[in-house]
């Protein structure tokens, strides 16, 4: 019996299945462990380092949402990382918002900033969009340096934590970062399972075909650009409250873009799992090889090129081969009548 003669009642459509349950269980266990860990395992230094990992997960996940699904390769998200970092300090120190509220508000401010920016940048396509975003990031940086009250070239320090003891401060930032990272990943998952997500998946595979089938390509792209910029703002705010200092050169550094690209490309572009895996690998390598400095970045660049050319679906793509999803977005179709030929056909 050939597959083409199967009637719909012969087909079993599965979304998720045991790999998702198992993967979801493992991930939940890891999150529970991370939530409990500061009490008995990690030193304060480790806890501060882990905030960086959570920020990287947010950066990778949201950059992937924009580039992997929306097809918008931005190399200028440091505009919003910087805006988020400066924003949280102003919101906490000047406006007087509590730190967690200030971090979330900084993310929202960045999302709002991305709306007018998108109308300018969406006039460019492909690689030109990419460099255009970088120009905008440079403008953000230069303007921040010139604005009165932003500390010029040397930057700002966070004072809202003054008088708070060190353990409380570190714990606040740690749990805030953990909760935000989990929420960003879950929100991405919910978005990708929605009607908009289906449209984005179609855009990922072929933007022209998606448009011809009635997907609102431009509007979906604007949505993910704004969402990803809000995510970059959140990450920047977390980096700022974790490090307690911001300066234009560090917060608006194109280095962040390099990190995001490595994380997403090595982990797996256009999947939800890929950026998380990529962030963990990147973080581990950074902790292990940091002392090698430039050679470490050279190796990372070479690995990224190799992955793009040889394994374009990244490490997660190599592991899952498109069949398993921890975050089930796609569907698998099995011919029910002939279980001995249980080959699956992928339908995203």
């Amino acid at each position: 019996m050939s597959t083409s003669t199967l009637a719909p009642q012969d087909l079993k459509v599965v979304r998720g299945g045991w790999p998702s349950l198992a993967g979801g269980g493992v991930l939940t266990a890891i999150v529970v462990f991370l939530a409990a860990a500061p009490w008995f395992v990690f030193s304060p230094g480790d806890v501060t380092n882990l905030v960086t990992l959570f920020a990287l997960i947010i950066l990778g996940t949201t950059w992937n949402l924009m580039a992997g699904y929306g097809g918008l390769v931005s190399i200028g998200q440091q505009a919003f990382i910087g805006a988020g970092g400066y924003g949280v300090i102003k919101l906490a120190d000047v406006v007087g918002l509590p730190i967690p509220v200030a971090v979330v508000a900084a993310g929202l401010v960045c999302a709002a900033l991305a709306v007018p920016t998108s109308f300018l940048l969406f006039r460019l396509v492909g690689g030109y969009f990419a460099i255009g975003t970088w120009v905008v990031a440079e403008v953000f940086k230069l303007v921040t340096q010139e604005l009165p009250g932003f500390g010029g070239g040397s930057g700002l320090s966070l004072t809202a934590f003054q008088g708070v003891d060190r353990v409380t401060r570190i714990a606040t930032v740690y749990y805030l970062a953990l909760v935000l990272a989990v929420l960003v990943v879950l929100a991405t998952y919910v978005l990708m399972r929605s009607r908009v997500g289906l449209g984005l998946t179609a855009i990922r595979d072929d933007a022209v075909a998606a448009a011809s089938l009635g997907v609102a390509v431009r509007r979906s792209q604007r949505l993910v650009y704004v969402a990803a910029s809000g995510g970059a703002g959140l990450a920047g705010a977390l980096i700022a409250v974790n490090g307690l200092r911001v300066s234009p050169d560090s917060m608006f550094s194109v280095q962040y873009t390099a990190f995001m690209i490595f994380i997403v490309v090595i982990g797996g572009l256009g999947t939800i799992e890929g950026p998380i895996l990529g962030a963990v690998i990147f973080f581990a390598l950074q902790q292990l090889l940091d002392s090698y400095g430039t050679w470490y970045l050279i190796a990372l660049g070479a690995v990224a090129i190799a992955v793009v050319l040889l394994a374009p679906r990244g490490l997660w793509g190599l592991v899952a081969r498109g069949r398993y999803e921890v975050f089930p977005v796609g569907h698998q179709v099995y011919p029910q009548a002939s279980p001995q030929r249980a080959q699956s056909v992928d339908f995203d």
């Binding site: 390769v73 006039r123 690689g127 660049g301 990224a304």
Partner: protein, 288 residues
């Protein structure tokens, strides 16, 4: 008089930007690749020239005889070995590969030459100037502008009047039809990149002769070159020349208002062009 001077100096600075930008314009025009390693290749050329001049004691300008062929070969190899393969995976891949190359290049240069700022010595030429009434124009800047115009005219003539140039444009218009006519698409692309990176090498050495550079300078080079290309109009070499001049004038006039605003003024002019004339000032005026 200060303002006239600022505009004139800007035009001269613009010659440098146009020279830096025409390689980016050519690679995009032929292959639709945005080469993010563009800036770092220019800086690498400057370092190579500096190293040659120091090691062999040859005059700075003579190093071009070595630097241009070396970089052109590197360009050919990058296209043949990496970009052609990346092009098969869609349009994201070349962008990501070139970004990887830029990161590798910048860190490699930092490892070899340290992060210190350098400059290629050109002796008295760096301070020589001609007087025009109350205005003083740098001789070296004038040479750069002339070279930029010459390179753009040369590229334009090469693309329209030689066999290989025509084959390149045919490949750009329709790779499949060109292949049917016996043109080796991969070789054509690699030749185009070789020529483009050759011009980048020339531009990089001129850059190194006029300003202090360091491994991170590639970022600025890429941004300025890109702005010149967009202001002028995609796919037009004459547009790139005009774009470079406009960017140069914007920067010097901005710096005349306040020294801190020079680079920012250039970015703002770029954004204004994007807003009101996204196709650029001279879009596709001449085929490239």
């Amino acid at each position: 008089m200060d303002w006239i001077n600022a505009v004139l100096q800007g035009l001269l600075l613009g010659g440098q930007y146009a020279l830096l930008a025409c390689g980016l314009s050519l690679i995009f025009g032929v292959m639709r690749i945005v080469n993010l390693a563009h800036g770092i290749l220019a800086v690498a050329a400057a370092y190579l020239a500096l190293w040659l001049a120091q090691q062999t004691g040859m005059p700075s300008f003579l190093t071009l005889v070595v630097v241009i062929p070396v970089l052109a070969t590197v360009g050919y190899a990058i296209q043949r070995g990496l970009f052609n393969a990346a092009l098969r995976h869609g349009e994201l891949s070349p962008l990501l590969v070139s970004f990887g190359l830029a990161v590798i290049g910048a860190n490699l240069l930092q490892e070899i030459f340290t992060a210190d700022s350098r400059k290629i010595s050109i002796g008295d030429l760096s301070t020589a100037s001609v007087e025009l009434g109350q205005l003083r124009l740098g001789v070296f800047s004038l040479i750069t502008l002339v070279v930029a115009v010459a390179v753009i005219v040369g590229l334009q003539l090469y693309l329209s009047h030689t066999r290989i140039g025509r084959a390149m444009r045919a490949t750009k218009d329709d790779p499949e039809a060109a292949t049917l006519m016996g043109i080796d698409e991969r070789h054509m692309y690699a030749l185009a990149t070789a020529i483009a990176i050759g011009t980048v090498a020339l531009a990089g050495v001129f850059l190194g002769m006029s300003t202090q550079f360091s491994p991170t300078y590639g970022d600025l080079v890429l941004i300025f070159a890109f702005e010149a290309v967009i202001i002028g109009g995609l796919g037009s070499l004459w547009g790139t020349l005009l774009g470079g001049l406009v960017l140069g004038v914007a920067q010097t006039v901005g710096a005349q208002i306040d020294p801190a605003y020079g680079v920012l003024a250039g970015h703002l002019v770029f954004l204004v062009v994007l807003l009101f004339r996204p196709q650029g000032l001279l879009p596709k005026a001449v085929v490239a």
